[in-house]
């Protein structure tokens, strides 16, 4: 221990005693500091130093624990109390000695508030890590030996106290942090529990509110929970429905399968679904889609099954209705042998109904194309088919008829129509129907043959009937004449001659001669009749009827018929049957004219068109043998014919019919192959028909 050398024992003794007292006080400080924080400790320290060492100031700078800002404390004696602020003191020290207190000198002199002061510094902590304590006095020589001792001990004690305070502070901080965390966790837990309760309430609400029957089951399949809807729907209590009680509400017909499916789902341990009818509380069964999902624990074991049953009764009914409609549609198609199709010709995309596939005997999986259709079309009908396709491509409605030879070798007659429903991307979509008319066609062909034969027979018959009628009418009186004449001769040759008998027979001969003559007159009158049966008629319609009559014959002759009917063709007044005979005659002639054509299409075009002067024209154009322009005038003369078996009366009759309608008929050779026959008749009875009508009345 270092003590001042006593200059005078009494003064030395007093100083020593004082020093010892001060030391004891300083050593006791830590006990007083227990539980205090740093500022309290520093405050006590500064007070003690100023008092004990009779200082003009005491200053402490505490370093912050972790690079934070340092904290300054200062206590002044009376001399400086009003002159200097603690902050000015800190700045003066820093300015004088630098910013690092550890490097400050342990004793020096500084100028503060205009006064020279002696200063002593002591580090807080072994290496000054806690900070620094600085004491200043106007006394020169400060600090003396005892003053240095007291300052160091005080600094040391303070360092201990500060260390403890820091420890305590840390403990408090940790404790506070712990408390805070505990409180936070507690609050979180409480909120989580709240949330859980709310969520549970909501889940329950959701489960009970969702428009589905929700349920859960234990891993073994026994039901555990049913939502409100479920119980309300089936009209069972939760107890009644639990385990396997719910099966009471399953339709008896569905129960076996449903139970099997349920077990299968449980065995597969995967989500699954089933459909079954459930009985509603009022006894009505409705279809449900039952879906179930497993809930697994961390090990993957199933702990619960969750299911939802959705009412699909309406869907089921719609499905059944759709199936019924589809079936009946398919039935109707099958029964009527009518198939339908939707075709995009440009994209070569074809959607066919089952029956269409059946008619073509194509596998429904076949990708249909125009090419695949062409492959089954009868070779003779390919030109006609291609012509129809070409026409369809232009976007007009078409009718068609062709034969197909199926893969199995069956020959079928197919007929149909297609019309444009919409333009998709500028190209026509066709919806159409086609019909297997094989049976009908075969019958029709037989019918047509029969009709043709009948027509022939009728022509022949009418001719022979006419001849027979004429013969009969004439032969009867002729027979009388011959017999009477024979009798007359015999009577005159008799011996004696029977003159009166002969006169009688001669008289009868004359009478029969007159009778024969009357027959001829009557026949002439019969054939001289010129009456027309006039009616208002649409030549388009009349022509269509003739075409319908001729279709079979034209197809047999492999003639492609194209028709172009003028829209808004005015109706005319005329004899429908007679004009149809003219049209029929022109069509037959055209068809006959193409019979020998094999190097080009046998194409027949029938066109109607209005003409100037209130007339209507019908044009029949063929691609046949054609006509010589020199012979055009002769064509309409009776008994002129270019046909091997022809009689040469068709066109002459046609001309007389047209002329009786005050019309005109003519023929022209085409630029290309074939000829065009046309006739035109005036529209109404105003000019010509009036006269005709009078003729009708007079006859």
């Amino acid at each position: 221990m270092i003590v001042d050398t006593p200059v005078e024992s009494s003064v030395g003794e007093v100083r020593l005693r004082r020093c010892l007292n001060d030391l004891i006080s300083i050593l006791a400080l830590p006990a007083a500091w227990t539980g205090n924080d740093a500022s309290q400790i520093v405050g006590t320290l500064l007070g003690a130093l100023v008092g004990m060492l009779n200082l003009d100031f005491a200053y402490v700078r505490l370093n912050a624990p972790e690079d934070g800002p340092s904290v300054e404390f200062a206590r002044f004696g009376e001399s400086l109390e009003h002159l200097v602020r603690p902050r000015d003191l800190g700045e003066t020290l820093t300015r004088t000695w630098g910013a690092t207190p550890v490097q400050w000198p342990l004793s020096a002199r500084i100028v503060l508030g205009g006064d020279q002061l002696s200063v002593g510094a002591a580090r807080l902590g072994l290496h000054g890590e806690l900070g620094v304590v600085v004491a200043g006095s106007q006394r020169s020589g400060f600090p003396g030996q005892t003053e240095r001792l007291l300052l160091d001990v005080a600094a040391n004690q303070a360092a201990i106290g500060l260390q403890q305070a820091r420890l305590l502070e840390e403990q408090r901080r940790v404790s506070r942090e712990l408390d805070r965390r505990v409180a936070q966790r507690t609050a979180e837990l409480a909120s989580a529990i709240d949330e859980l309760r709310r969520s549970e309430r909501e889940s329950r609400l959701i489960i009970d509110t969702i428009p589905a029957l929700a349920w859960s089951a234990r891993p073994g399949g026994a039901a555990e929970f049913f939502n409100r809807h479920y119980l309300d729907f089936v009209g069972l209590s939760a107890e009644d429905a639990s385990d396997w009680g719910w099966t009471a509400a399953v339709h008896p017909d569905d129960l076996v399968e449903l139970t099997a499916t349920w077990h299968h789902i449980m065995d597969s341990a995967a989500p699954g679904e089933a459909e079954a009818r459930l009985r509603r509380h009022d006894g009505e069964y409705r279809w449900f889609l039952i879906r179930v999902n497993p809930l697994r624990d961390e090990s993957g074991a199933i702990v619960q099954w969750y299911g939802v049953n959705t009412d699909i009764e309406d869907r089921k009914r719609a499905e059944a209705e759709l199936r019924r409609v589809h079936n009946s549609f398919a039935d109707a198609q099958r029964l009527s042998k009518t198939g339908s199709f939707i075709t995009d010709l440009v994209a070569d995309d074809h959607k066919w109904s089952e029956e269409t596939f059946r008619i073509f005997e194509f596998d429904p999986a076949t990708k249909i194309s125009v090419k695949s259709i062409r492959e089954v079309i009868h070779p003779d009908d390919l030109p006609s088919f291609d012509a129809v396709i070409a026409r369809a491509m232009t976007g007009v409605d078409v009718t068609f008829g062709f034969r197909i030879v199926t893969a199995a070798g069956a020959l079928k007659h197919v007929r149909g129509i297609a019309h444009v429903v919409e333009q998709v991307a500028g190209r026509p979509m066709f919806v159409g129907a086609l019909q297997d008319v094989t049976a009908g066609t075969v019958a029709e062909e037989a019918l047509n043959r029969a009709r043709a034969e009948l027509a022939h027979v009728a022509r022949v018959t009418s001719m022979s009937t006419l001849t027979a009628a004429i013969a009969h009418e004439v032969n009867q009186p002729l027979s009388g004449i011959v017999t009477n004449a024979s009798t007359c001769l015999r009577m005159l040759d008799g011996n004696p001659p029977d003159v009166s008998g002969a006169r009688e027979t001669a008289r009868r001969t004359i009478r029969d001669g007159h009778r024969a003559s009357e027959v001829i007159t009557r026949l002439r009158a019969l054939f001289g009749k010129k009456d027309l049966t006039l009616e208002s008629l649409d030549l388009n319609e009349a022509t269509r009827e003739v075409i319908a009559l001729s279709t079979g014959e034209l197809q047999r002759n492999r003639v492609i018929l194209l028709s172009e009917f003028a829209r808004d063709l005015p109706s005319i007044t005329g004899d429908r049957v007679q004009l149809q005979q003219v049209i029929l005659n022109l069509i037959r002639n055209a068809s006959d004219a193409m019979a020998g054509v094999d190097d080009r299409l046998r194409q027949l075009l029938i066109r109607t068109q209005p003409e100037d002067g209130d007339r209507v024209r019908v044009i029949v154009r063929d691609s046949g043998a054609g006509i010589e322009s020199q012979s055009v005038d002769k064509l309409f003369e009776a008994f002129y014919t270019t046909k091997p078996g022809g009689m040469g009366i068709g066109l002459s009759i046609s001309r007389s019919i047209v002329e009786r309608h005050h019309g005109r008929i003519w023929a022209e050779p085409n630029d290309g192959p074939g000829a065009t026959f046309s006739f035109s008749v005036p529209r109404g009875p105003a000019s010509a028909g009036g006269a005709a009508a009078r003729v009708v009345r007079e006859s």
Binding site: S464, T467, A468, N475, Q476, S479, V482, R490, G494
Partner: protein, 124 residues
């Protein structure tokens, strides 16, 4: 050559035949009766006496062939000479095949009629 009393019945709906033919037959030395229909002949009472029947083919009501069948049904084996104004030759073979003596087409000659009658009456 023929029995004077042989009765030839004429059935024809044409009046001029009914007027003229019996006169000619009488000139041949035959007895003759004329009827306007098959029904009139059948109900006349002379069916049994008739040695030859000159029968029109086409008549209203019962036709010539109808009467032929009716007579066969009644086992009245009367030789029949058909006459017809319809000039259809195709009917002739049929009629002959069914037992007719001849089929004459109106107007027929005196000679043709005599030939047919000779054949018919010789059959009796």
């Amino acid at each position: 050559m023929t029995d004077r009393r042989s009765l030839v019945s004429v059935v024809d709906d044409d009046e001029s035949v009914r007027e003229s033919l019996p006169d000619l037959l009488r000139q041949f030395g035959l007895a003759a009766e004329a009827f306007s229909s098959a029904e009139a002949f059948l109900s006349s009472g002379v069916v049994g006496e008739t040695q030859c029947l000159i029968l029109d083919l086409a008549m209203p009501g019962m036709s010539g062939p109808d009467l032929q069948r009716e007579l066969m049904r009644r086992r009245q084996d009367i030789p029949i000479v058909f006459i017809t104004a319809h000039g259809d030759e195709s009917v002739r073979p049929d009629l002959l095949a069914r037992g007719a003596v001849e089929c004459l087409f109106k107007p027929f000659s005196e000679g043709a009629l005599l030939d047919a009658l000779n054949v018919a009456l010789r059959m009796r």
